[in-house]
């Protein structure tokens, strides 16, 4: 199960990076979303995937799930959600003001 998840995360990461390297702004935003999904899946996978066991910290309990990665991933998801929505608005404003969504034309020079 961990292997499948890792492969899935890698695929997400690869597609994300591919999109990040595109010129169109919206594709880049989609790229960041995919990269962050990949990162979150890694985070979840890294502590071994277990089902049906409660997160208990007591002597004598052998079957328990690790609650920490869930806490971490939840925080990371919330943060990347917030940043992504900000990024969308920023990308839209940049597009309306600069009248282009092509990164090549958004390069700019020193004295403007």
């Amino acid at each position: 199960m961990e292997i499948i998840m890792t492969v899935l995360a890698s695929i997400l990461f690869a597609i994300g990076v591919y999109n990040l390297l595109q010129k169109q702004l919206l594709r880049i935003v989609v790229g960041t979303v995919l990269v962050s999904h990949g990162a979150h899946l890694y985070l979840l996978t890294m502590s071994k995937l277990k089902r049906g066991a409660p997160p208990v910290l007591e002597d004598g309990v052998t079957q328990y799930a690790d609650p920490l990665p869930q806490a971490l991933i939840l925080t990371a998801i919330v943060i990347s959600f917030g940043v992504t929505s900000f990024l969308l608005v920023l990308a839209y404003r940049t597009y309306t003001l600069n009248k282009t969504d092509n990164m090549e034309e958004l390069r700019g020079n020193e004295h403007d």
Partner: protein
């Protein structure tokens, strides 16, 4: 007393919520922000004094003991940087009303400002790797809010690159946290430091360490990853640039310092040697950038980069002397970068342009501004007896002890070139015939100069009063080299 250590993080958070309620009542928000900043500075200075005299204080949040809960660690290094942050940010609050126009202030400048300070203080004080990520995001989101203030065409374009870059490196941060958790089973700094030696596959650990270094290097603007910095830091309002230049990159380099003196010290032959060469390249390329442009804002922004190189050099050398030099230089650079950005902001207002070729003779109309800029340049370049000199002296001593002569020579040459790049502004901009179009609004320039004057005088004190400051820096360097004290104070039974 233990619980009070959260104050430097919580107080600005409360203040940011408080001022968010009255965005349009500037005549209330301005004085309230100023008073609150001064009070916070006094509180954090008192806490720093307490930590320096009584040793490290660790707050376990929620009453969960160290490896399970999140520890807030107030050790001398963190507290020193937190106080420096507060001093710079207080100066920024006094600078802001004259620098920003009213509409920009109404768009929640003070809210984002306090949020930024809260995030920076949290990043300095946290003792938990994932919590460091969270505080990074707090300060980054605040910085996104600040960088787009003004809403200009160029500004949005550059902010977009800044946001994208930081977003990507944040995701790398999450991934490296995942790797570290998989290898060691913890994200607490102290427990990581304890477990790092017992890990079987040291090679993987080194790799993960370098991935983490990349994350911090993006925030700190180390050599191959600095190209997002100059443009995005030069376009916003001077007060925002000053906050970014003085605080944000320093959080990155602080994280490198913390992580690579506390946790990843198992293979210094690889990691720290890489740092040393990256530090050299950072200095060289930063200085070349500073000499390559005629835009005064860009010159100062490029000068952030060699400073990061100097601090990284101390970490790469990894001796007690060089770390003391790094800490001293870090503290000095926070203050003087704030001051320089303020002065450049004032200069641009005074001259009415940021193009060096078009300005001249400013010193004849604004002598105080001119001389302050002169002193600040000397401080930055490290001319004795100013504070840059003490830091560089310690760094070079460390370099000579390790017999890294080439590194020392390049460091010396690049400080000479830093001085040259600053003097270029002084000679071309301040000397000569009085140019046309120089501002008549003397009051505004004066208001912009005063906060800078305060910061410059603090940094002159750091140099002349080195006798009083240095012993504390030495204590910090001792603690950085001897990891047991940090580990014991966090994981005490």
């Amino acid at each position: 007393m233990t619980n009070l250590m959260i104050l430097p993080i919580v107080l600005p958070l409360i203040a940011s919520a408080l001022v968010a309620f009255f965005p349009n009542k500037l005549n209330i928000v301005r004085p309230v922000s100023m008073i609150l900043s001064v009070i916070f500075t006094i509180i954090s200075a008192y806490l720093t004094w307490y930590v320096f005299s009584n040793g490290t204080i660790v707050m376990q949040s929620g009453g969960w003991d160290a490896p399970f809960g999140i520890s807030i660690v107030a050790d001398p290094l963190s507290m020193l940087l937190v106080t420096t942050t507060y001093i710079v940010s207080t100066a920024a609050v006094f600078y802001a009303p004259s620098s920003l126009d009213e509409q920009q202030e109404r768009f929640y400048f003070y809210t984002f400002f306090f949020l930024l300070v809260s995030g920076v203080a949290g990043a300095f004080m946290t003792g938990d790797l994932f919590n460091l990520f969270v505080f990074f995001e707090v300060l980054l989101i605040a910085s996104y809010g600040l960088i787009i203030l003004g809403n200009g065409k160029v500004q949005l374009r550059e902010s977009l690159k800044y946001v994208l870059f930081n977003l990507f490196s944040s995701m790398l941060f999450v991934i490296s946290v995942a790797f570290i958790y998989a290898i060691t089973g913890t994200v607490n700094f102290a427990q990581l430091a304890e477990r790092i030696e017992s890990v079987d596959q040291q090679g993987i650990l080194t790799t993960v360490g370098i991935v983490l270094f990349f994350v911090f290097a993006v925030k700190a603007a180390v050599f191959p990853l600095y190209y997002w910095l100059p443009n995005s830091y030069a376009v916003p309002n001077p007060v925002v640039s000053a906050l970014f230049g003085a605080l944000l990159t320093k959080v990155g380099i602080y994280s490198i310092m913390r992580v690579f003196t506390l946790i990843f010290v198992h293979d210094t032959g690889i990691t720290h040697q890489i740092f040393l060469w990256l530090a050299v390249l950072t200095m060289v390329f930063g200085v070349i950038g500073a000499l390559s442009t005629n835009n005064v804002k860009l010159i100062i922004t490029y000068n952030i980069i060699p400073a990061i190189g100097f601090i990284l050099m101390g970490i790469g050398l990894y001796t007690e002397t060089s770390l003391a030099g790094s800490v001293y230089y870090l503290m000095h650079d926070m203050v003087i970068k704030g001051a320089l950005f303020f002065l450049i902001g004032a200069l641009v207002v005074a001259a009415g342009t940021s193009d060096l070729r078009k300005m001249s003779g400013v010193i004849q109309k604004f002598p105080l501004l001119g001389w302050l800029f002169f002193i600040a340049s000397l401080v930055l370049a490290g001319i004795p007896p100013f504070s840059g000199f003490i830091g560089k002296l310690l760094l070079l001593q460390g370099g000579l002890q390790q017999e890294e002569f080439l590194v020392v020579i390049i460091a010396l040459l690049s400080s000479l070139l830093i001085l040259f790049s600053m003097m270029r502004i002084f000679i071309r901009g301040f000397w000569g015939e009085v140019q046309e179009g120089i501002t008549t609004n003397r009051k505004k320039v004066r208001n912009l100069t005063i906060p800078a004057a305060i910061l410059v005088s603090i940094s002159v004190f750091l140099g002349i009063g080195a006798e009083a400051v240095y012993p504390h820096i030495e204590t910090i360097a001792n603690m950085l080299m001897d990891r047991t004290e940090y580990i014991d104070s966090v994981l005490k039974e």
